[in-house]
């Protein structure tokens, strides 16, 4: 994204949800996006996921400039290149696990054999291949979120966009989901995750903080590796000073 702005307007007020927002995410990165409520995190994720328009700037997704694309093209990009993971899982309650995971593949035009193969592969990745006929209500929250991850993975997207994926889970389940995301990232999946959890933000190799619709330089949740290296440098510097 390069100098992207998103402005919401009504009769009396206009709100700059994103202003001159620039960010480049490389393939294979795991980026945590943090920031206070109302800072523009969700707007960023919606724009990044092509769920919302932007008013100014440039956004290039996997080499495709999305500015001015028609609905059909945007839908195809969403389907082929993006996988969404939502805080509330957003599974359709009366569809089986199989049907839920299969949904994006239906709009890609895969035949039944390919769809089945991809659904099973995605469910195997999240460890739920044996539950294809279950309904979401028959699974725990963590399992439901893993189904949602499988749905996001089924189409083999270029990037996963996760909006507080552990927000509705207890710590144990949250841990399992985070481990799953890390595993996926290690296998090469690019992930952008909005989170309020400082520990989760620190786990990933890059985090950015959004304040007032812009990326802030002030790093609250620096990655652990960076913190460790910073503190090692500080000790070394202190030793040098002492010497």
């Amino acid at each position: 994204m390069n100098n992207v702005s998103r402005i919401y307007r009504n009769d009396t007020i206009q709100t700059h949800a994103l202003r001159d927002f620039s960010l480049e995410v490389n393939a294979g990165e795991f980026v945590a996006v943090t920031g206070p409520s109302g800072s523009g995190k969700s707007t960023f994720l919606n724009v990044a996921g092509l769920l919302d328009n932007f008013d100014e700037g440039e956004y290039t997704l996997d080499g495709v400039s999305v500015h001015g694309l028609e609905d059909d093209d945007l839908s195809r990009l969403r389907n082929e290149k993006i996988g969404f993971i939502f805080q509330s899982y957003n599974l359709i309650p009366d569809y089986s696990i199989f049907d839920n995971v299969e949904m994006p593949l239906r709009y890609r035009g895969f035949n039944a054999v390919d769809r089945k193969r991809r659904v099973i592969q995605a469910l195997e990745k999240v460890g739920l291949a044996s539950r294809t006929n279950y309904l979401p209500s028959q699974l725990s929250g963590g399992q439901q979120q893993r189904v949602a991850i499988a749905r996001a993975l089924a189409g083999e997207p270029k990037i996963l966009l996760a909006d507080e994926p552990t927000g509705n889970l207890d710590s144990l389940m949250a841990r399992q989901v985070m481990e799953l995301l890390h595993n996926l990232n290690q296998e090469g999946t690019t992930i952008i995750m909005v989170t309020h959890d400082p520990d989760q933000a620190r786990e990933v190799n890059r985090n950015i903080q959004i304040i007032d619709g812009q990326i802030s330089d002030f790093k609250i949740y620096a990655p652990l590796q960076s913190l460790e290296s910073d503190s090692a440098d500080a000790v070394k510097n202190k030793e040098e000073v002492d010497a």
Binding site: S42, L51, D71, S75, R78, S88, N90, I92, M103, R106
Partner: protein, 427 residues
């Protein structure tokens, strides 16, 4: 994708059965009521003999012997004019007839049960002119003789539908031999006798040679006028008694003009003889023009049809309102599908598939309701019995109307569904 959309439609029906039942019922009642009315209008305005309705002409003449200023041509003729028409070789077919009635029974039967039967006393050209369909035998060749053709209903009543050609019927005490039996035959409207409120009567039970009926004195069961008194129909041949209707079949405009001249020349001869005080005014009207002239379409039925069109509009608005609430409650799913890659076109197609499926079911239900409405109409208004019919054309129209209304009622809800902000419902 169609099979997937059908599957989603069925799932949606299962999710909100009460709502979809209400939509179905609303549309079905609207379409059913309109179809029932259209069935009546269609019967009233239909062309009863489309293959040659433009070649069959009703003959009206103003040969009234007394001086009556502004007298219009009469739709009934004297015997002498009627015979003049049958003598002409310009028409390829002609028929002159009057309506009567007799009691009929099988002359060989032990049973004395007689059936009240409508009679068409006609010249032999009637069958070819009207394309009357024969099941057995054929028409009588001459305009006299103790022969008779009977309709399917009477044949069913007396001979249980068997081939009764050659059998003898006793008609008002006279014995006549059956030469032909007609197939079930309905003419809507009954163009050959559309006057005196008979346009929607059934075709006749008995067809008998004109001269025979006159000789037997079978009374006139239709409008007649005369300037003289007479004892019975057998005394009408040489008197100013107007009671015969005439139809001719003219192949083209030239024949039509030639026959018009033939009638006018005849009127001129009457005038020359001092028997025709009025202006010469003979008219030929083809089937549809004649039916239009007779104003056979009931204005109340037309008004009620218009009311049912408006009622259907209200039904569509109601169905649309119900579907709007349904689509509103499905905002989450629409948002989710859009997020994972469904385009507006996909959502539109899904909604349209659902509407078409609903339309098909509504079509079937509405046709059943149409049939029910028509049955009820006939119960309360027996005069409608012969026109309250759902023909295949109307069944198709009903189905089409149901589909159109179903899709129409879903258009606005679908438009709204495609305007939802995708991310608004997804957390």
């Amino acid at each position: 994708m169609l099979s997937y959309n059908l599957k989603l439609a069925l799932q949606n029906f299962k999710r909100a059965p009460s709502l979809y039942f209400l939509v179905l019922l609303t549309l079905s009642i609207g379409v059913g009521l309109l179809c029932a009315n259209l069935a009546l209008v269609s019967s009233m305005t239909g062309d009863p003999i489309p293959e040659k309705s433009d070649k069959l002409f009703h003959v009206s003449m103003n040969t009234w012997p007394n001086d009556q200023p502004n007298a219009e041509p009469f739709h009934i003729l004297r015997y002498r004019e009627a015979m003049k028409i049958t003598e002409s070789d310009i028409p390829s077919n002609s028929a002159v007839f009057y309506a009567s009635g007799v009691y009929a029974r099988d002359a060989q039967s032990d049973s004395l049960k007689r059936f009240d039967s409508s009679v068409r006393a006609t010249t032999s050209g009637f069958f070819a002119l009207t394309k009357a369909p024969f099941a057995y035998g054929n028409g009588f060749a001459k305009n006299s003789g103790m022969e008779v053709v009977i309709g399917d209903q009477l044949n069913q009543k007396i001979f249980s539908g068997e081939n009764s050609v050659g059998k003898t019927l006793e008609l008002d005490g006279e014995l006549l031999t059956i030469t032909g039996v007609l197939k079930p035959w309905s003419l809507r409207p009954l163009f050959y006798h559309a006057t005196e409120g008979r346009a929607f009567n059934l075709t006749d039970d008995v067809y008998v040679p004109l001269e025979t009926a006159i000789d037997l004195g079978w009374s006139i069961h239709a409008r007649s006028s005369s300037t003289v008194s007479y004892k019975g129909v057998e005394f009408t041949r040489d008197r100013d008694v107007f009671y015969l209707q005439a139809w001719v079949e003219l192949e083209d405009k030239t024949k039509q003009q030639a026959f018009q001249n033939y009638l006018d020349n005849y009127s001129q001869t009457l005038k020359d003889a001092g028997e025709h005080p009025l202006d010469i005014n003979n008219q030929l009207r083809d089937v549809n023009a004649w039916l239009l002239e007779q104003n056979i379409v009931d204005q109340k039925v037309l008004a009620f049809t218009l009311a049912s069109v408006l009622f259907l509009c209200v039904c569509v608005f109601n169905a649309s309102s119900l579907l709007l609430s349904r689509f509103h409650s499905a905002k989450f799913e629409v948002g989710l599908r859009r997020a994972i890659g469904a385009s507006n076109k996909n959502i539109l197609n899904q909604g349209l598939t659902e509407s078409v499926l609903l339309g098909f079911v509504a079509g079937v239900v509405s046709l059943f309701l149409s049939w029910l409405f028509l049955k009820l109409s006939v119960t309360f208004l027996p005069d409608l019995a012969n026109i309250a019919v759902l023909d295949p054309k109307l069944l198709l129209l009903g189905m089409l109307l149901a589909l159109i209304t179903s899709v129409s009622s879903a258009l606005y809800p679908l438009y709204r569904a495609n305007r939802y902000t995708i991310s608004a419902e997804l957390k």
